[in-house]
């Protein structure tokens, strides 16, 4: 058995921030309640005491203002990490992310890079209703100039931030709210996988389950159940939504000839739609069945538990969809 330390996803993210702050004096964190409060999801708890208020910088509720400050500080030679409480709030900072961070390198003819890292919580499951629970990863993945990471495992939570900070361009890291309390073993000898590579989390030959972030756990559980039925599902964790690891998507489909995409975003205009299109364009002749998608219902995420859960991709749906796909001869 691998030697390692048992930690939570939250602790893994915190450790990655600590390591970055210790390793590079240009790194600092800014965002709402990151310091004295300890972070709205307690990710940054204790960092203020260790690093002080200059580097763990509490901001007023000015998402556009402090996001732009992050862009400017990155242009000015620092390595800021901007924390946005939740993806819904990031819409208030969309101007700075999309019109500035993403464009400046290209628009300036390559003169200025924006080495900015943005972290935010995403996703549903905590009964926080329709202004705190959405999954807009797809919106950001649409934008050239940005890179979009979705750590779905303890290891990725631990190492992706460090890799993002080494990147000269703006990188957004989405942390699914249901992962923060997840516990796992971080192997002592863990080696970070390059951030832009998709990873096969479970090999299989009958069907490819392609997913990312908060849905990875559900998909792995579904794959275990399918194994009990004699169905060997391969689980591909995308990890990076822009740029997409297209080769890995094509390769898994070439192995299994069937694909189900599981995505917590809404179906219309979703990443699942993009991935389906990639498979159609580049692996069409490998397919034995149409690609299927399991996405969130097209409603604002509601408050009551049963309705929230009904809106999200769930294991029974994944199982049913896989069985349906396998019925195609």
């Amino acid at each position: 058995m691998t030697q390692g330390t048992e930690i939570t996803y939250r602790e893994a993210v915190r450790e990655s921030i600590r390591e970055a702050l210790l390793g590079d004096e240009r790194v600092f964190l800014l965002g709402e309640d990151v310091g004295r409060y300890g972070g709205c999801y307690a990710v940054t708890k204790g960092l203020l005491q260790e690093f002080g208020p200059e580097r763990i910088r509490d901001t007023p509720l000015s998402e556009s203002g402090f996001m732009g400050a992050g862009v400017g500080a990155a242009l000015g030679g620092m390595r800021p990490i901007v924390e946005i409480m939740t993806v819904n709030f990031s819409l208030l900072a969309l101007d700075q992310i999309v019109n500035n961070a993403a464009t400046i390198r290209h628009m300036s003819g390559g003169q200025f890079s924006v080495p900015l890292v943005i972290r935010m919580a995403t996703g549903a499951g905590r009964q926080l209703a329709a202004q705190h629970s959405h999954s807009f990863e797809c919106w950001y993945a649409h934008v050239p100039g940005l890179k979009v990471l979705v750590p779905g495992t303890i290891e990725d939570a631990r190492f992706m931030l460090g890799m993002a900070l080494l990147d000269p361009d703006p990188v957004i890291i989405f942390e699914h709210v249901m992962l923060y309390n997840e516990t796992g073993i971080l192997p002592n000898e863990a080696q970070p996988v390059p951030m832009e590579q998709a990873v096969v989390r479970r090999p299989g030959k009958d069907v490819s389950l392609i997913t990312y972030g908060g849905s990875l756990g559900k998909v792995l559980s579904a794959a275990s159940q399918l194994a009990g039925e004699g169905i060997e599902a391969e689980v591909l964790d995308l990890r990076c939504l822009r740029p997409l690891d297209t080769a890995a998507i094509v390769q898994t489909v070439a192995r299994t000839h069937r694909a189900v995409v599981v995505d917590e975003g809404w179906r219309t205009g979703s990443l699942a739609g993009e991935i389906s299109a990639i498979i159609m364009e580049q692996a069409f002749w490998q397919l034995d069945a149409p690609v299927a998608r399991v996405c969130s219902k097209e409603v604002p995420i509601p408050y009551p538990h049963h309705l929230e859960q009904a809106a999200l991709p769930q294991i029974p749906q994944i199982l049913a969809t896989v069985r349906q796909v396998l019925e195609h001869a």
Partner: protein
């Protein structure tokens, strides 16, 4: 500390003549741009600064080479006053690869790393938060530099203006905010868009030292800029100047100017920044007979050279279209 940038200005011929020349240089450059626009050599949006030259020229005198500038989409004057070559700005207008942004940005997005010119920003108020960030970086790095942020009075209606005022004051950042109040946000007059029309008072309400300046008077603007920049360099936190000015041309080349009458424009033109300084220098015997003609001659030659340069420059190859969406990575 940079003493050159904080020296007190001298009201004499040697000091004023170059400022007159700089304003005429911007004016003639832009008149040429307007002409080239009608010839379809320059396309897209073209926002002329004509009438407002004293602001860019006066503020530039307060800046040191290591300072940073963020401007708006009406930034030809700022780019030229900052020292970016006229040829590279004109080539940018033409969309040529020799342009200061490789032709990628055009009139609204002039960038220049050497002069720390962080762009024309075409989202109203979008440059303010970035200026806050540049200044934050300088403060954290212990660099006594000034970040100057130009914006129009239309920007003060945006949330980003207020967020930036608050952050700059809260963190005592080395920013010089320069509001170019030309009375119209595109076609919307200040009096129909703002409940408080003294813009500098808004900045004061955030605890920022703020003043209104006659933006038609380059000497006043320069004096205010030097004082503000010296104070900022000494660590006194952000400063704010509301420069009262007026745009003689339309918002862009598409503007038919239905929202204001000709008399109003003519009234302002009589007190335009170039006329004002020229007449004052004349009245005070600071202009020699041939001074203005010599400036005009020199500027005409520079403009002609800039046009030649832009005309003869190459377009960027289409194969380069997607370079610099991301920073090229060296092999790892």
């Amino acid at each position: 500390m940079n003493t050159a940038a904080s020296d007190k200005p001298h009201i004499n011929r040697d000091h004023l003549l170059p400022m007159l020349a700089d304003m005429i240089r911007i004016r003639r450059f832009e008149e040429k741009c307007a002409e080239l626009y009608t010839q379809e050599k320059i396309r897209g949006f073209l926002h002329l600064y004509i009438g407002e030259e004293a602001v860019a020229v006066g503020i530039a005198r307060g800046l040191a080479p290591e300072d940073a500038v963020i401007a708006t989409y009406r930034e030809h004057g700022h780019a030229l006053a900052r020292g970016i070559s006229m040829a590279s700005v004109m080539a940018e207008m033409y969309g040529k690869v020799t342009g200061c942004s490789r032709g990628r940005g055009g009139s609204m997005h002039l960038f220049d790393e050497k002069h720390r010119f962080f762009g024309g920003n075409a989202i109203v108020a979008g440059g303010l938060p970035m200026a806050v960030g540049l200044a934050l970086a300088d403060k954290m790095r212990g660099l006594a530099r000034v970040t100057t942020c130009f914006f129009g009075e239309g920007a003060v209606a945006e949330g980003e203006f207020h967020e930036s005022m608050n952050l700059a004051a809260l963190w005592q950042l080395p920013v010089l905010f320069v509001c170019e109040n030309n009375l119209y946000a595109m076609g919307t007059a200040l009096e129909i868009s703002e409940s408080e029309q003294h813009i500098y008072l808004k900045a004061r309400s955030y605890g920022i030292d703020a003043h209104a300046v006659d933006g038609m008077n380059v000497v006043d603007v320069e004096a205010a800029a030097r004082t503000a920049c010296s104070a900022i360099r000494e660590g006194q936190g952000p400063k704010f100047l509301e420069c009262k000015t007026y745009r003689f041309r339309g918002h862009s080349m598409f503007d038919t100017q239905l929202y204001r009458d000709k008399e109003e424009i003519e009234r302002w033109q009589k007190h335009g920044p170039i006329v004002l300084l020229q007449e004052w220098m004349q009245a005070n015997h600071m202009l020699l007979e041939n001074d203005v003609a010599a400036i005009e001659h020199r500027v005409a030659a520079e403009v002609a050279e800039a046009v030649d340069f832009a005309e003869s420059s190459a377009l960027e190859s289409e194969t380069e279209l997607d370079t610099d969406v991301y920073t090229p990575r060296r092999s790892q």
